[in-house]
């Protein structure tokens, strides 16, 4: 099948939904004030993008999400590797992880606002907390899964403990770590939009919420659409990066299979 046809066959459900969104408000069953058709929402979104308003809000949201995720990686990956390495540390940290997991991290936003005020810091802290747990867990599993023989041979050739951890364990755990980052992207997005709906002065979540309050429903839907598109784009971009970054893993696995067979 030609690439165009494959692309179309993948996109057709979206076209169906788009058509429904366009036609349903026009039938008169719902007022077009309440549910503007897709064309007017898309037009509004384009207009807001041109004036720079949507990019401004998106930039604030992305800044918070990325900052939180970076902190989570900087804290979570080393911690995950250390826990994977030291059973004693694991026994100590594990109950804290288990206790912390069930709490939805956006619930920490009010507490962090008491501690850090209503600015970006409280939101970034909440995002970091939300992302750090899945990252620690996936990194831990990645570190545990490293082939012991590779580690022993590295040690036997005189590698220092730090080099072993950095060059071998980190590289071998990379697929799991990147999976953790992928989860982190979705989690950071969810947390930042939630935080902005609860208390913020800018950001995509704020945009959606405030336009609901002022009754500007086409902006509200345009903002929601922007959120979905940005989230999808970030996830797709990272998945593509992951496939490339982990190509050597797949290649070495293939080579192993050929050699062993």
């Amino acid at each position: 099948m030609s690439p165009l046809l494959t692309a179309l066959s993948r996109a057709y459900p979206l076209l169906v939904i788009a058509a429904l969104w366009e036609l349903f408000p026009r039938t008169g069953l719902v007022s077009t004030e309440l549910v503007p058709p897709l064309s007017s929402v898309a037009e509004r979104l384009w207009e807001l993008t041109r004036t720079g308003e949507v990019p401004m809000h998106a930039a604030h949201s992305l800044y918070r999400a990325v900052a939180g995720l970076v902190i989570a990686v900087a804290v979570g990956v080393p911690l995950g590797i250390r826990i994977g390495w030291s059973p004693r540390l694991y026994t100590f940290v594990n109950p804290l992880l288990v206790a912390g997991y069930p709490l939805p991290k956006p619930a920490l936003i009010p507490l962090f606002m008491l501690w850090l005020g209503t600015g970006d810091a409280s939101k970034i802290a909440a995002i970091a907390m939300a992302c750090v747990l899945p990252l620690v867990v996936t990194t831990y599993h990645g570190a545990r899964g490293v082939d012991r023989h590779v580690i022993w041979s590295a040690r036997s050739t005189g590698a220092s403990e730090r080099r072993v951890l950095r060059d071998i364990v980190l590289s071998a755990a990379l697929p799991q770590i990147l999976t953790g980052v992928k989860i982190g992207i979705a989690v950071s997005f969810l947390t930042v939009v939630s935080a902005e709906m609860v208390a913020a002065k800018n950001g995509l979540g704020y945009l959606v919420f405030v336009s609901m309050e002022t009754g500007d429903y086409s902006v509200m839907l345009a903002g929601a659409l922007a959120v979905v598109l940005v989230a999808f784009a970030c996830d797709a971009a990272f998945t593509a990066y992951m496939a490339r970054a982990l190509k050597w893993q797949q290649q070495s696995a293939d080579a192993e299979r050929h050699a062993g067979a």
Partner: protein, 253 residues
């Protein structure tokens, strides 16, 4: 016995440090309410009925949304495994919808349905359905072909194969998906209540923060955590009862 103690020790340590710092006067009072004060407030709110009222609301919304997500998600997941048409239609929608934060839908739902239970239930449903649908589909497609063929060769109808082979084989996957769905359901219910609600634990949390009632903020957080732990335990225990024969399935979303 010792293992249990080792599990609890870090938490007790954290609580002890928490109590110490809160009482030391190092931080302004609004920052940290001592663990003892939080415990006292918790009992007070519990006895007064306010906590049960809020928790009941949150649980109701999460549970209804979750139940709907289970019914619809399992049905769609199984259908997707059987029918290429359904798979081709729902696949791209799932890929698009999965990374998106479902809470962004909430204001739209408020506009359409007001600020009562319905918009929150729909938000919970929209989030919880994804892990269930995806895992059910994964389970239904992972059924060992050999089992299906044996059943067919022994004269089972396609209906029997579905109910007696495919469905039971998919259940471990459904449970793994349900475990995540429970987490998502509680998250969305609480966040929706934080954004716009007159009652519920999310509302209680945000309201207490605005009133600078730090002890109540901690009470809300503790209650939400306990509910999260309880729900997760519920899923694992149910799984143990229903699926004592099956191994744990790793979740791949």
């Amino acid at each position: 016995m010792l293992g249990w103690l080792a599990g609890v020790l870090p938490l007790l340590l954290v609580i002890a440090v928490w109590e110490g710092i809160a009482r030391s006067g190092l931080l302004p009072k609004v920052f940290l309410a001592p663990a003892s004060a939080v415990a006292a407030r918790l009992i007070e709110q519990l006895a007064g009925g306010a906590l049960l009222f809020h928790a009941g609301n949150t649980l109701f919304r999460a549970a209804v949304g979750l139940a709907l997500a289970l019914v619809i998600g399992v049905a769609l997941g199984l259908r997707m495994a059987q029918s290429r048409g359904t798979r081709n239609f729902l696949g791209p929608l799932i890929s698009l919808g999965f990374p998106a934060p479902k809470i962004a839908l909430f204001p739209i739902l408020i506009v359409l349905f007001g600020v009562d239970h319905l918009p929150k239930v729909i938000t919970v449903l929209s989030g919880a359905i994804f892990p269930i649908l995806i895992m059910t589909f994964a389970g239904a497609t992972a059924v060992d072909r050999a089992c299906v063929w044996s059943a067919l060769s022994m004269g089972s109808s396609t209906r029997d194969v579905f109910w007696k082979v495919t469905l039971p084989a998919s259940l471990p996957y459904v449970f793994s998906g349900a475990r995540i769905a429970v987490f998502v359901a509680l998250l969305l219910a609480v966040v929706a209540e934080m954004v716009a609600s007159g009652e519920g634990l999310g509302h209680y949390l945000v309201y207490s923060e605005r009133m600078l009632e730090t002890a109540d903020v901690f009470v809300a957080l503790t209650t939400i955590s306990l509910i999260g732990i309880a729900l997760d335990k519920l899923v694992t225990v149910t799984r143990g009862l229903v699926l004592c024969w099956a191994e744990e399935v790793e979740v791949t979303l």
